[in-house]
Symmetry: C2
Subunit: 362 residues, 2 copies
């Protein structure tokens, strides 16, 4: 192949007009075959266009296309962190589903900052992203959240499809989530049934939606059994916060069991305690929430949330919708994983309960 027909600077990308010229048809005809339109085109023209496109290595300019169709085939997913397997699994579900329809996935790491989520939403609006999926919880009562909610409303008005996987309280936006309150009620009840009495909850960050909901579930289950709640403050999102909390705990008297707000902090506590020579589950039980890869690696007792499925379902909503998304609320089921870090009566790996699928819309 000769490169004699290069442009002067960087060789220009080959355009629809180039293909049309080479196929000796009009740009319109070329467009009709290359854009997958249903508009009738003679078999001969079609073949010539396809051949020319292949030969030229034509890649349709998605930008120009989106400019006219008002729809770019991209979906944004806003996560708190990319390394945390909780978000990685959600993002993976989004990507895999989006890919099938030729959608590209823009992953935005907002570090759980509502302000940063706003920034990203604005950027994604500018990209005319087909939709935006908000993963994970949020700090509910901040001024930035109020503004984010307003921005979201505006974006929806512009035709953007938004799906909320957390508890952001958007209006007129479909939500897909798990019943975080029930998750913790189930887990707490399970540990109580195992015989634990001095059962502590390692709290997540205060004011964070999933953190608060899970706390409520714990408190509910404890109240039902007339047990005294024990709250461990100062928990954060990551491994390190769980470790630090456990170390502080070692100074006083240990409870029978610790339920942590998330797998990450549970694992931090687990490793800190074991390193300090405390037997788990011999001396103390530990359980987490999420059911991440890391949890199964360390055989943690936890509740598995369907992160991948949440992501895929959200992507499906965005990718397959015709027009605007009707508001709805879908609750995905969770299931308890009896790992090796709590109690000794159950064989590890058994699935104890299967919460049922609840689905409602309105």
């Amino acid at each position: 192949m000769k490169w004699s027909d290069l442009g002067d600077d960087a060789s220009m990308a080959v355009t629809l007009a180039d293909v049309a010229r080479r196929a000796k048809v009009s740009a319109a005809t070329a467009s009709r075959v290359l854009s997958g339109s249903t508009y009738p085109v003679s078999a001969e023209s079609r073949a010539r266009v396809e051949h020319a496109a292949a030969q030229l290595g034509y890649a349709p300019d998605a930008l120009a296309r989106a400019l006219v169709t008002k729809q770019s085939r991209t979906v944004g997913v806003i996560v708190g962190d990319m390394i945390d397997p909780y978000f990685a699994e959600i993002a993976s579900g989004v990507e895999e589903y989006a890919r099938r329809t030729g959608f590209l996935t823009i992953v935005c790491k907002a570090d759980r900052s509502p302000q940063r989520e706003r920034d990203y939403l604005r950027l994604l609006r500018g990209q005319r992203a087909g939709g935006v999926i908000f993963a994970g919880g949020t700090f509910t009562e901040t001024a930035e959240m109020d503004e984010l909610r307003r921005d979201a409303t505006q974006a929806v008005g512009e035709g953007m499809r938004i799906v909320d996987l957390g508890e952001r309280g958007f209006s007129d936006v479909p939500a897909i989530t798990v019943d975080n309150c029930a998750v913790l009620a189930d887990l707490t009840a399970f540990l109580i049934a195992q015989g634990h009495r001095r059962l502590a909850f390692l709290k997540g960050p205060p004011g964070f939606s999933t953190s608060d909901l899970r706390l409520r579930g714990y408190l509910h289950a404890m109240a039902e059994t007339d047990l005294e709640p024990i709250l461990i403050e100062g928990g954060g999102f990551d491994f390190e916060s769980g470790r630090a909390a456990a170390l502080r705990l070692l100074a006083g008297s240990l409870p029978d069991a610790i339920i942590a707000f998330s797998d990450e902090s549970a694992l931090g506590a687990l490793i800190a305690l074991r390193q300090a020579g405390v037997e788990v589950p011999g001396r103390i039980s530990i359980a987490g929430v999420d059911g991440t890869r890391d949890a199964s690696l360390l055989n943690l007792t936890t509740v598995k949330l369907p992160m991948y499925e949440l992501g895929a379902a959200a992507a499906r909503l965005v990718v397959e919708a015709e027009g605007a998304l009707p508001p709805s609320r879908t609750i995905f089921p969770h299931r308890l994983i009896t790992g090796g870090t709590a109690g000794r009566s159950q064989p590890a790996g058994t699935v104890i309960s299967n919460a049922e699928l609840i689905m409602s819309s309105g």
Copy 2:
């Protein structure tokens, strides 16, 4: 606020013309202030435009902008898997660096398939992505790889910036990587120095670039010490493959130590062996490569590769470049992490060696 001036269907997005009209200036002037141009604009006009934009919630249409500037502020990163912490850390480095400049990061999960990498490259070309970063290794000798290399050359010709983090053998493309051969030579030498003699290598998939390079490093170190190499076939990328290999191994006689192609397979083997009652490192030592989060969670002896830094450096190249990227080859340093799964002579957690930073261009 009244919504009486809505469009007929979904309320149209507010456009530059809307802002200009409201600020009583021309579209050109509005563009100059909103696009951050250095072109002079009177303070008064500037203020009016900014006010109008804020009031209208104007989000510039990145598509239209990119259509004329030929540069969309997005960077694509092609990974093998999103959940694997190896890739998650690279992607995180890319995203974090890109974000600072207002770039969006498109994460593409190609499942290590050259064909899928081609598909994504084409999609990203269509998005006029500012650059594309290829993470992780690849199957080198496939027909699809040859075509991918051709596609890459064409994309570079069109002004796209490509960075190779694996060993894809692109021509005229900057590469940033680690010395995979030295990584394994160092690790092998370390285990030999610890007194291991029957030292096996759990191979990665044959024909995969990093897998082959690491194997070579192992063979080299073994040859230097006149030790007989022991190769364990059938290794894959994931946890499960390491587990399966270890189970097969249990049928025969165990070596003194196993070095696995990656942390993932090392962890699979580690957990399988421990579950089978084999003491690690008492009876057998195990080491991996990568230095992922999971490895440190389980205190695995491994070699830490600077994944985050690789991603950030690649993003920097893409985001800060003025024109085309000059070809270059940069080797980032690695360091040995003495975890708790190999030998007993070294205190765990010590950093043993620090390979030096080598950098060359041409």
